[in-house]
């Protein structure tokens, strides 16, 4: 199979694309972030195009390795009749970037659009708060060969968008996917709102089409809608009914031209895209692909890693940040950025572990207490009484106590149950608050038993 995607995501700006209204449409009561321009009242003309939206779109196009149109670009009017469209047309730009690439999937083009309002038939209203919010649309070539590849691409794309800092992410995503199987025509699926949805729609469609082909039924070109609740697709219209949008250049908006200095300025400031960063991390720091991917899953995390490895062994840091730090973030359901953990905190902790000032176990306890703490790892350790490695006398004392108090486990050990030794080691660690070296503890216990 071959699959291509058209993905819309909102650009992150304070004001709308062609007026000064705020973009916090989800928080605002219905129809409060509106004006005559985004309502397209009779006579209203668009204000000049929001520069931040334009720069964000250019940046994303460049991060997707697109060529930037050096000719003039302009907005077209795409006419269609729907309650959420106050002017009867949607403004959509010609491509501002084209011929890009993301992990081997070719990007056909990147362009800008304005979001329509939201028709809410259940409430009997149209809410125009969303009308005029800038969107970016990314169109790929049909380069994905399975639902899994499409899902991987979308995940990576969302990561690029997050890196850019100029897009709102998966929550605002709307996608159309097209799929064609060997021996069948191209089918387009609309109405997809998440990566999972795209995956499920493709899976469903692949099975449906395969079954038809098996039965010798021809697959005709058509547009289908994805029903999220049921995870199925249903036919919307056949090719004959294709809409004619009567595209014309918008006469109210003069052509735009991205200036070379502007493009270069954005290129200098733009973050390195995550898929490029993965490759660089692998080469520069000699770490495997998997930890490199984890470390670049978030721009702030990747930046912190690069700060940390200035003074800590990269492979050691990679291991710790991938396993322990990510575990803590995952447990707390927060991003690294939200955790407030600083590079200095990470550096100090890793140095303490490396110099064996604390055990790995204690290190784990410390890192668990690092999110949203302004204390240094040392302060955390001190406060919890975790600092220092206990002397061997104390370990021996603790071991004796454990042996005395757990005759059953001792008996089990002598019967050859290895789990019993682990249990006893754990008890020693508990008495020493994790400060005993696990290796030495095992040796002592074995001797004493």
């Amino acid at each position: 199979m071959k699959c291509g995607l058209e993905i819309h995501v909102q650009l992150e700006t304070d004001s709308k694309l062609f007026c000064d209204c705020h973009t916090n449409y989800q928080d605002a009561p219905a129809n409060t972030n509106i004006c005559h321009v985004c309502l397209n009242q009779p006579g209203a003309k668009p204000f000049p195009t929001n520069e931040n939206a334009l720069e964000g779109a250019l940046k994303i196009a460049m991060m997707l390795d697109c060529k930037i149109a050096d000719d003039v670009t302009y907005f077209m009017r795409k006419h269609y009749n729907y309650p959420d469209l106050p002017s009867g047309y949607q403004r959509t730009s010609v491509p501002i970037g084209y011929e890009g690439d993301l992990n081997g999937v070719r990007i056909r083009e990147v362009h800008m659009e304005e979001d329509p309002g939201q028709y809410k038939p259940d409430l009997g209203i149209v809410d125009f708060n969303r009308s005029g919010i800038p969107l970016i649309e990314i169109v790929t070539e049909p380069d994905m060969k399975s639902p899994e590849e499409a899902r991987a691409f979308l995940r990576e794309l969302i990561r690029v968008l997050e890196y850019s800092g100029d897009a709102r992410g998966e929550g605002t995503m709307r996608a159309d996917v097209n799929i064609s199987l060997e021996g069948g025509k191209r089918v387009e699926i609309k109405n997809i709102n998440s990566i999972k949805g795209a995956y499920k729609a493709l899976k469903f469609e692949m099975v449906r089409q395969k079954n038809l082909l098996k039965r010798g039924v021809e697959i005709t070109q058509e547009t289908r809608a994805f029903l999220e609740a049921q995870m199925i697709t249903v036919s919307m219209r056949l090719k004959e009914g294709a809409e004619d949008y009567r595209f014309i250049p918008d006469p109210d908006l003069p052509p735009m031209q991205a200036k070379e200095e502007q493009v270069e300025g954005i290129r200098e400031k733009m973050p390195e895209p995550p898929h490029i960063k993965v490759k660089r991390f692998m080469e520069q720091y000699n770490i495997a692909e998997e930890p490199a991917k984890v470390l670049t899953s978030e721009l702030e995390l990747a930046d912190t890693f690069e700060e940390v490895v200035k003074s800590v062994d990269p492979q050691f840091a990679a291991l710790w940040m991938r396993d322990e730090l990510k575990r803590v973030l995952y447990y707390n359901k927060i991003s690294f950025d939200e955790s407030g953990i600083t590079p200095q905190q990470v550096i100090e902790l890793l140095k303490m572990v490396q110099k064996k000032e604390v055990t790995t176990k204690v290190g784990q306890r410390i890192i668990e207490n690092m999110p949203n703490s302004s204390k240094s790892p040392k302060e955390i350790a001190e406060k919890m009484g975790l600092i220092g490695i206990v002397n061997e006398d104390e370990v021996i004392q603790a071991a004796q106590k454990v042996i005395d108090e757990n005759p059953e486990a001792v008996a089990d050990y002598h019967e050859g149950k290895s789990a019993a030794l682990n249990f006893l080691v754990g008890q020693v660690m508990r008495f020493t608050r994790g400060k005993a070296e696990p290796g030495r503890t095992v040796e002592f216990l074995k001797e004493m038993l």
Binding site: G43, A44, P48, H79, N81, R246, I248, P251
Partner: protein, 459 residues
Amino acid sequence: MNLLEKSKAIRNQEITALDSLEKFNQVIASKNSNINAFVQIDHETALKKANEIDARIKNGEKVGKLAGMIIGIKSNINVKDFTISAASKTLENYMGSYDATVIQRIKEEDGIIIGMTNMDEFAAGSSTETSFHGPTNNPAAPGHIPGGSSGGSAAAIAAQMCDITLGSDTGGSIRNPASHCGVMGFKPTYGAVSRQGLLDLSMSLDQIGPLAADTSGIAMMLDTIAGNDPKECTSIDWKVPNFTALLDENPEEALNGMKVGVVKQFQEVTDDHIVNIIEDSIDKMGEMGAEVVELSFDYVDLCLPTYYLINYVEFFSATRKYDGRKYGHQIEEVCGDEVLRRIHMGSYISQQEFSGKYYKKALQARSLIRKEINKLLNGVDIIAGPTVPKLPHKLGETLEPMEMYAYDVLTVIANLAGIPASSMKAGEVKGIPVGLQFQAKPLDDAKIVQAMAALEKAA
């Protein structure tokens, strides 16, 4: 007393804004039912404003450029709390929800808006007969059409119902009725006056401009409304001349040394009686020191088709918002024949399969016309000629669409080229006014105002 003198008299408390308003109110009361120039009047607000201005003048407070001037506005320009119907049933319930940029500026300069004037439905016409509010009569030639589409704005001036009106001009809609009603009308350079708040007919051609009984009224209004609007993308950032200052000293000398072009093809398509009168005016300009040169423009036949193709497509696009959901009526269900014809034509030729054949060709033709006109204008200061090639027909007479479109052949050029143009009364044929049109290079609006003032002085 011209309008500038009148405004000074109001400032000097020789007359009051209130007196002026009351006089106009009487005229409106006695004549508007017959002329139908105004479709909505707001006496009360105007009265309040007039009293306020008089009080401020009395107290020695500063007042704006248009202090005490009584203004009428074409019904396709947004004024808060007036019905902005564009003379269509489609918008019979649409109240202006915001002030157009030109209206904001008029209010800031203390102009008194008295009401909304009649027009062709959505400005798609040249006779003001297609209005949902009924036709407007021509005060200068009763029983004839006043021209259009800003027929109400021209008739209001001709009938002395107010000082200055605003119209909009897409293919002649200010100059055509100015010509038929014997008043001054001015279409500024495209982008010289903000379109923010003007209902669309054809966005790349539409321009707001003033009508008045004399050049000083035109100049005062241009001083008020011209200038960059950062909130309108086609608005030009230009150094606006002081138009009224141009009229201060010996305006008649402006023609001395001015190079005036006369395009022979413009005369050829024009009624001979009209040509005679226009030639008299041009001779007069020669006597006043102008150097008259003959020019040739081979693309007259290309202008009307180009103009209408662009107009159809842009109008189709502009009317998609009148889908019946927000303003009460779906346009196709309630509009008149001409508006419907333009929507259907626009819908047809903007289809994917035809747009290359018609619309894109029209845009190419337009570039050619623009280039050729600018070439002509390079050698002269202004081009002078007839505004309309024929006299207005009688009210009630029915014309074929092509006959109606023929009124526009000499005025659409300025819109296609984006250049400034005006019309002023040159004389009369059988008691019917005939207009003299001036055209100039983009942003040479001042040259036209100077030529108008000079010729006006000589009359």
